[in-house]
Symmetry: C2
Subunit: 166 residues, 2 copies
Amino acid sequence: MSSYSSSSASSNSPCAACKFLRRKCMQGCIFAPYFPPEEPQKFFNVHKIFGASNVTKLLNELLPHQREDAVNSLAYEADARMKDPVYGCVGAISVLQQQVQLLQKELDAANANLLKYACSYCHPSAHAGHQQVLLPYHSSLQWSNNSDNEQMREKGGYVYGDVDGS
Amino acid sequence: MSSYSSSSASSNSPCAACKFLRRKCMQGCIFAPYFPPEEPQKFFNVHKIFGASNVTKLLNELLPHQREDAVNSLAYEADARMKDPVYGCVGAISVLQQQVQLLQKELDAANANLLKYACSYCHPSAHAGHQQVLLPYHSSLQWSNNSDNEQMREKGGYVYGDVDGS
């Protein structure tokens, strides 16, 4: 985290927010520690998606030590919304939820097969005639990417679960 | 999707957006199909987090058939940010990414064990003395929930990957 004492507001260079908003970057500027002048795109995205006024209100409602994480998560969401104006980062959530479901299903199947082998070791006579080899699953999962989002879009959108899983 | 012809703007009741903003809900109101008067919280959240002006701009940049998905994903993000002002739905992304990594690790281990059993069936003499039973993994994973977010917060925040996995 950039400490405020070393932030742009203490130098002659205004922070990226004040520079974009064409205002003087005063001592105590709430944006200065999180929007350094060398990252103009970060503020541009956050301002375009959330609005500087809303971000100011949100930061003022948080404790100082929470603000950097809040700004970074807002920047992440804003970047995702700029890249995908329809789904934003919710597209990534939907893809990840499907990956978890598929992996859990594959793991359950692998465990069921392992149990069969384990039982046949413990009671070899019960499986004396068993010759079928249950080969491991090989997950075909890839990390979420834009092509996943495109595929999802073609299918007619996402089904969103609650964030807290309830 | 609510068709515009059946939206609130065609009745005497203004849509939730126009009602909140205290303005007349005109024919062609861009909010009316997606913010029915019976769901005031949906607009309240979206307006508080993104601002009505930013949402209007975003919707105007999309094709009409994309707008319902866009509004729903914005509502999802806004709801997550209201519940968790620091991380919003990015917290859920981080938890899901960790679940995927852990599940993949467990699946790889289960598959490796399956391969050992499969080999010992094909070549029983090679493992004649092998009596160790490799029990299946039992995933301890739970779907993301607020307690996960709390744990993450205690660890000092999330590490975010790019949305597109790059």
